[in-house]
Subunit: 456 residues, 2 copies
């Protein structure tokens, strides 16, 4: 442990010495508005990819910009030797949109203030990406017996539409022993978190049509069917919105039970319903219990209604009987639920109840890694060494398409080592990152790479 | 009967002789686009009122344009003597909007083609108004011992916002023995119909709010409440959308039972579900049975969902958990349901189920006249004499605010003698009226006035 602590101190000293380089580079990346949701930002996306490849090369890594049907992917490598293990670092360099008028500082002109970096993409995911890169550069220069590859995606914020094909087309150069994804958020600054699971998703449109135009509720009401009313009835038959319980027979059959150990870990992350409500500005939740709350968002499937269209949507009341209705719904899925099979369960259940149309929209498989075993142990030890606190193993409630693709295409262990904090404003206005997390992150990744070099 | 038939023949002969005057006058009124929904049409509204008063005076009637807080009302009278009964004829001279590009002929340049009059307002309600006027003129010139008053409203298509106050302010000059409203539609051309009931209305907004912004269904779904899902659950507790049955305790308590006679009359009107579906372009209805179908729209209360807002309403699916939801609903009411009392029943029922907000919107009391008795008999005999077919007594499913106001303020029997047919396109594109109905209508009203003159 003495040696380990000395090494952590060495990395931190190196980080402090090169801090202004890190900040200058981060600013260069943040100032390029690589907003993948805005097609007119294609030049910034391309420039970001070029800047990434150039940066890798300037550090002595191999690097190239790989074209796809959509936006490019930057791949790079610090190569040590084919006899050594290889770890692939995944980050993304595209960012969410930002409306400058809503921000306290310009989103695409990074401001540095007392070790806080303000700008779009600072925490999601450019700041973490450059921290891992510095760690890899350091580890490589120290002669660590491990190859470190990079995959920097530029379509993550739009659901990675080209990523699976990119993996398929470039399997040769992407062979690896493991993957580490650095794009997740701790539950609280006090307690680092390592997520090891993601929920899947099946989105669905349900439609009902009973005429060709809205009609007058005076002349027709009572005899005309009401598709919104019938949709409400259907939704109520699908789930109990108060408890969230899904009533489709078989829906929970494939749900893998959650360990008590896992629930202990969830709560140990610092998760509380009060913090959750505050973070998401919710006035009410389905439970106030932290254990049940964490289980609900991380380890339990859902049925959700996103919107109901059809009928009158203006101010006040217009007394029409609508002629059609569309419910926009989705199900978040957990291992071992399969999107296709779950869609079929829903479709059959709905169609039995009447002349509804059930249309499949986007889907993503759930992901479950390990919170035990040598990769989980390496991640845990590295985080503890760098931040001085034992991390909690949690899951994430969302879905990341790129992770599911990497699991299917690369078929190796995938670990999540994120550096973002709840107060960094992921996807929100006034997004920021900070030197404390970047610096600790560099130490954490050096330690992680070191430990991976011993896993055969 | 011989005398009666002779008199009808005389009126028809008079009508035929003055047909070109009727058509010229109708065209003058239709060509004035008195669209009350469009504030910029105020000049046409005012010009229509002036034209109406001038026309009455040209026939020897007293007439004036009475100002209100909104659009004016034309009042007029063929006065015989205060010792005689008085009948007040209600029509309206404002019209629905019309988008010329959707029409086969210009909506505000009336075209005459083989006895069909094409243009906005021809059937609703200028054509019938002028037919009654001609009948009154004729009857008055024959020395019929009855006073005939006129109320021509210019705000009917916007819900008569100033009408109740107009009645209150002008009660002195509006005293009458009965009212006849000529603004309704037969169920089929083959069988004249006399409605004697209108449904009431109570519109309501129901709101639920659980946060301050839409949140991500991945990071929050399962723990965050879903206000749309809960609204669907609430609506399902309020009514069974498949059958239309309202489940609020006490909702049906005040509903006056419908006579078997009434149901017989409903079906005798020519009402069929097939025609109803065709007229309203509905592909499905809650029943295929004519008797039950007519009861549902004319004599039974409803709960109706007009729209649900909140959440995502764009194309496809956006995986958010909405933070609020508003259901726009209303209840159509039948005698003796009271809007206020029914609103209170709903509010109490909803508030028991959670933190919903229940807001009262517009309301109208139901109306029920008589289908038996001397006024109903007079209407029936007049219609049979003019059109050669015994009319059916029906009700209307909609609500007419002006009728409820007249009932409350004038407190006299109100009869509906309409001339419009389903194929005339009430409120629809290519609205039209025809000489056959106008001509028969003149004979019908002369006969009706004659019979009223004998009712003390």
């Amino acid at each position: 442990m003495q040696t380990e602590q000395t090494e952590v101190q060495d990395v931190l000293a190196f980080a402090d010495k090169t801090r202004s380089d890190y900040e200058k580079t981060l600013k260069a990346f943040v100032d390029l508005a690589s907003v993948s949701m805005e097609p007119e930002r294609r030049p910034e996306i391309d420039a970001t990819a070029e800047m990434g490849a150039k940066l890798l090369k300037s550090m002595g890594a191999a690097a190239e910009v790989v074209k796809t049907a959509g936006y490019p992917v930057v791949v790079g490598e610090f190569h040590r030797g084919s006899q050594y293990p290889t770890v692939t670092v995944y980050n993304h360099l595209d960012v969410q949109p930002a409306l400058a008028s809503e921000w306290n500082s310009p989103p695409f002109d990074m401001q540095i203030e007392n070790g806080v970096y303000r700008g779009r993409g600072t925490t999601d995911d450019k700041g973490p990406a450059l921290a891992v890169l510095n760690a890899a550069h350091y580890a490589h220069n120290q002669g660590l017996p491990v190859n470190i590859k990079f995959i920097w995606e530029l379509e993550e914020e739009i659901g990675s539409p080209s990523f699976d094909q990119f993996l398929k087309d470039n399997l040769g150069k992407l062979s690896t022993s493991s993957v580490v994804v650095s794009d997740t958020i701790w539950v609280s600054r006090e307690r680092p978190a390592i997520p090891y699971g993601l929920r899947g998703l099946q989105a669905v449109l349900i439609r009902l049509k009973t005429g060709v135009k809205d009609v007058h509720s005076g002349t027709t009401g009572g005899l005309a069917r009401n598709p919104i009313g019938e949709m409400a009835q259907l939704l109520n038959s699908i789930y109990d919105a108060r408890t969230g319980e899904v009533k489709i027979p078989g829906f929970y059959d494939k749900v893998k039970p959650v360990d008590q150990d896992e629930l202990d870990n969830f709560v140990a992350s610092g998760f509380t319903v009060a913090n959750f409500k505050c973070a998401h500005e919710l006035t009410h939740t389905r439970t106030e219990d932290a254990r049940d709350g964490a289980r609900r968002i991380w380890a339990h499937p859902t049925f959700e209604v996103h919107g109901i269209t059809g009928g009158y949507a203006g101010p006040g009341v217009k007394t029409i009987v609508p002629y059609q209705c569309e419910a926009k719904v989705s199900m978040r899925l957990v291992p071992d639920q399969d999107p296709e099979a779950t869609f079929n369960l829903l479709k059959e259940f709905v169609e039995k109840q009447g002349d509804f149309q059930v249309l499949k929209e986007g889907s993503l498989k759930p992901f479950l890694g390990e919170f035990r075993g040598e990769f989980a142990d390496a991640a845990k030890a590295a985080m503890q060494a760098a931040f001085g606190v034992e991390p909690a193993f949690t899951r994430e409630g969302g879905s990341i398409g790129a992770v599911v693709s990497m699991q299917e295409r690369l078929d190796v262990p995938i670990t999540f080592l994120g550096l973002s904090l709840p107060e960094h404003g992921y996807h929100a206005i006034n997004e920021n990152f900070d030197w404390q997390q970047a610096r600790g992150g560099m130490a954490m990744f050096v330690e992680y790479f070191k430990r991976l070099s011993t896993i055969k």
